[in-house]
Amino acid sequence: LEAIMTDEFERFLNESLAPAERLPDRRFVAAVQARIALDERLRAERRALAAGFGKQLIGLGAVAAAVWVLALAAPVASSISEYPAPSLAFSLTGFALLVALLVRAGGGAKIAPDF
């Protein structure tokens, strides 16, 4: 009797724990595809954002270096020392315009996987 019960229990356990026979769940497959598409888009946006930020930093650095070199030139340096406030205002306005221009130019590319 013990052996019969054991066999019966083993059969019950195996049948109960085995994956149920059914067709593939298309809705689940679609949900996974949608999640992957979203993940890919977000990753592409993050990459584009990082690349744009890098480019902007390089651009700003180049402009700052150019302005520095220009400010060292004798005629410009004398104007700055003669009129420091208007020179500073002019520089800050130019810098703000440059930043605004770079921010507008930096748009991220959007990539979607081929589902």
């Binding site: 085995a18 996974v32 595809q33 999640r35 598409a37 993940d39 081929d114």
Partner: protein
């Protein structure tokens, strides 16, 4: 690499190159056993979320599948890691112990609810999904002897419940 693994390996390599259709075929083929395992192990509320996490990670790491193990084994390992990550984020211990309720009629889900999560996982893999003990031990990060005793303990608990005398 067996013929079945070879087919999965080819699909996974295509997926690694960005072929979403190839990956969809892998999802269609493997979602049933994976979700069945998770349903039994982590419960209906979390099973599909963890399965989606696992497939997302399998897509990201498609190039890492080398065909030496079955794709389902590789995928289940990913799913188990996803499950452990979730538990860590929720700051819960890895082994969820006895759910602590007494159902009127004992079906398999009721029995499993009274086991710890590692007991459930070991029992479902070895007795329901045909995994070998070494495969299950590797997945669960247990020594082989511990895995065997975990399966035996889980089975003994279920048997006691099945016979009607629920004595842990």
């Amino acid at each position: 690499v067996t013929a079945d693994n070879e087919e999965d390996l080819a699909l996974s390599r295509r997926a690694a190159r960005g072929d979403g259709a190839a990956f969809a075929m892998l999802v269609e083929k493997h979602e049933r056993p994976l979700r069945s395992f998770l349903l039994r192990t982590v419960g209906p509320d979390l099973a599909d979320d963890v399965a989606q996490d696992a497939f997302l990670n399998a897509w990201r790491g498609a190039g890492q599948y080398d065909g030496r193990a079955r794709y389902s084994t590789w995928l289940t390992r990913i799913a188990w890691r996803c499950r452990l990550d979730r538990l860590r984020k929720e700051r819960k211990p890895e082994a969820i112990e006895d759910a602590g309720y007494a159902p009127a009629s004992l079906e398999i889900d009721d029995m499993l609810a009274r086991l710890s999560e590692s007991e459930r996982a070991a029992l479902v893999l070895c007795d329901g999904h045909g995994w070998t003990h070494p495969e299950a031990a590797e997945l669960l990060g247990l020594p082989l002897g511990t895995l065997k005793s975990t399966v035996a303990r889980a089975k003994a608990k279920c048997r006691a419940m099945w016979l009607g005398g629920d004595h842990d």
